[in-house]
């Protein structure tokens, strides 16, 4: 019997702070054992449990794409004991990893469709994985138009800035980056995500929407998606809940009979509608 609670060892290859408030740090992990690497297959939207031995475990969405070989990337928001330790971890240090866990985004459903990606703040991590996956030469033809709306409170709080610049240059992705408050160097859009969505007004025809962000953003963006006639079945989101085991045993992350860790974290609004409002 394989032990699903026993982490594989990985090593911090690279780590850097992403944002001016220094609350978000990205760490890139490389596999220590070849067989672990061979066995690790994931889909964008899945997550891992990262262990800092002595501090504990916490769950993080995988920010890298399966198309980016031999390493995994996570962006960590400094909040509790484990995340603080991950903010202080040095390059070369070993970390325990369990995963991939959860269901991930329904990639096969998106094939042949337009994909609208809406992200807010630090929830952009697994969306980065999704976008990077589709922008890979092998996968780009799988979907039609890709539209990305990404918002942060301030320019300094945007994640993956270098990549955003690259994507902006590409013609096969429509990227709209917006901030709530600009600064003197900011030349891009200023405005809240729901309003920007209204402005961009992507067609819902033959389209799927994926939305991840703070609850308040989702609350106001969702009606705009409805107005654009996106049906509930074609709007997906990824939920966050307190988790421990990540495999549907320990309780606590359930919404009704489903476990966010095992049956999620990605759900369509049609699925969520059927569940109790317990999140």
């Amino acid at each position: 019997m394989k032990n699903p609670y026993f982490p594989i060892p990985m090593k911090v290859k690279q780590a850097y702070v992403e944002t001016v408030d220094r609350m978000l740090r990205t760490i890139e992990l490389s596999f220590l054992n070849e067989e672990d690497e061979r066995a690790f297959h994931f889909t964008p939207g899945q997550f891992c449990e990262l262990s800092i031995l002595g501090k504990g475990e916490a769950s993080f969405g995988i920010a890298s794409s399966p198309t980016e070989n031999n390493s995994l990337k996570f962006t960590i928001n400094k909040a509790g004991v484990v995340t603080t330790a991950l903010h202080h971890i040095e390059e070369g240090t070993e970390v325990g990893v369990r995963g991939p866990l959860g269901n991930g985004y329904p990639i096969p459903l998106f094939e042949g469709k337009n994909v609208l990606v809406i992200g807010g703040g630090f929830a952009f991590t697994t969306l980065r994985s999704l976008i990077t996956y589709f922008l890979h030469p092998q996968n780009r033809s799988k979907v039609n138009e890709i539209t990305v709306i990404y918002g942060a409170r301030m320019p300094g709080l945007l994640l993956y800035k270098a990549e955003l610049l690259e994507w902006e240059k590409r013609s096969d992705i429509k990227l709209v980056v917006t901030v709530d408050w600009g600064d003197k160097d900011w030349k891009g859009k200023v405005g809240l995500v729901p309003n920007v969505l209204e402005e961009v007004a992507p067609s819902s025809e033959n389209s799927y929407a994926v939305i991840c962000g703070p609850p308040i953003m989702i609350k106001f963006t969702f009606p705009k998606l409805m107005a654009l006639r996106f049906p509930n079945e074609r709007i997906y989101t990824s939920l966050e809940k307190r988790m421990k085991c990540g495999i549907g045993k320990c309780g606590r992350c359930n919404i009704g009979h489903l476990y966010v860790c095992k049956d999620g974290p990605v759900f369509s609004y049609a699925e969520l509608e059927k569940l109790p409002k317990d999140y």
Partner: protein
């Protein structure tokens, strides 16, 4: 052929068992307080007590259990799993309710998808020696939950206490391996008919009227019922009912650290504790007793049946007996049925204001 084991031989029988197995049985810790424990001396076994406070689930799913140990040196680290089990186990004296509960835990830990090795390694190869429940209490309702004081299902060997002797029934292949045990003798017809008499009497006594049948469907529309506004009021939010429940299985995983080494441990957790679902941000999806009590009951009677096809309650009555404020799960169950509501209307005030 029905066998028997004379009580005067019990000690010697247990000694032979302990040569081969790790034996777990009820042990009295203080007057009227007992738990299942690994037995070092056969004299510690106490089969005369009523159902122990802590259920037999602890043999496979200890309240606190090390998952692995680790050592750190600079940037390197070494982890060693503690999933292995030294010896096969025997549980002696578990009541049918606890044995039924083990099969529910099997669904959770050994069912489809991920298998829990810590539970599985202890569970596999374990011989369950059940003990018939001669005196169900008024708080017991096992027949309502699909069980019964003499339910043999799940036991490999089943004992019936006749006073000076136990009737021994070998029920499974694993049980049959004990057929040649020198302490098991043939029971006479008088003993067999006495056992039947006790069984009949006990089976009549246990409460079969708690309306569990169909509760999964009935509770489907209850998430926002005013029921929850009132039901939770007296609950003080301790973990008695969940910790003493033979089917509750939620746990927490924590690290216990010394400077450079330590261990990862899993401990029982309870959905009635506020911290159970509280997120690091401070947001708690189940902020009050209302949501937490609802989680406890809905998990047992709605979510669990959706996932595993049966309720996560065996009617052992521990949560009723030991609750510090007399929260009675039977009243909650009753309130889901039209007939039951009439029965408890007086006890639970559902006025909403």
């Amino acid at each position: 052929m029905t066998l028997k084991l004379d009580k005067k031989d019990l000690k010697a029988f247990l000694e032979t068992l302990m040569d081969e197995y790790d034996l777990f049985a009820p042990v009295q810790l203080a007057e009227g307080v007992s738990i299942y424990k690994k037995i070092d001396r056969p004299d510690d076994v106490d089969l005369s007590t009523s159902n122990p406070q802590k259920p037999a689930k602890e043999v496979f799913f200890p309240q606190s259990e090390t998952m692995f140990r680790y050592e750190k040196a600079g940037k390197q680290q070494q982890m060693t799993s503690t999933e292995g089990v030294e010896k096969k186990r025997v549980i002696l004296g578990a009541r049918p309710c606890d044995i039924q509960a083990v099969s529910i835990l099997d669904d959770v830990f050994l069912g489809k998808e991920y298998k829990d090795v810590y539970y599985g390694n202890k569970r596999n190869g374990t011989t369950l020696i059940g003990l018939a429940c001669n005196h169900p209490l008024s708080t017991c309702f096992c027949p309502s939950a699909g069980g019964g004081p003499f339910l043999r299902k799940g036991s490999d060997i089943f004992l019936i206490d006749l006073g000076e002797t136990f009737i021994v029934e070998l029920l499974t292949e694993k049980g049959m391996t004990f057929q040649k045990n020198k302490f098991f003798k043939e029971a006479n017809t008088k003993e067999i008919s006495l056992a039947q008499e006790i069984e009949e009497k006990a089976s009549k006594k246990a409460d079969a009227s708690v309306p569990i049948e169909g509760i999964d469907r009935r509770s489907d529309l209850m998430m926002e019922s005013p029921f929850w506004d009132r039901m939770h009021e007296k609950c003080i939010g301790c973990g008695v009912c969940t910790f003493l429940c033979p089917t509750c299985h939620c746990f927490d995983i924590v690290d216990e650290a010394l400077t450079n080494k330590g261990q990862r441990v899993r401990n029982w957790d309870s959905c009635l504790f506020p911290l159970y679902s509280q997120e690091t941000s401070g947001h708690n999806p189940r902020p009050t007793g209302r949501e937490r009590t609802r989680q406890r009951l809905m998990h047992k009677f709605n979510y669990f049946p959706k996932n595993f096809g049966r309720v996560a309650c065996v009617g052992c009555g521990r949560c009723i007996l030991y609750c510090p404020v007399n929260f009675d799960i039977r009243q909650a169950i009753n309130l889901t049925s039209a007939k039951g509501i009439r029965k408890v209307k007086d006890q639970v005030d559902l006025t909403r204001r």
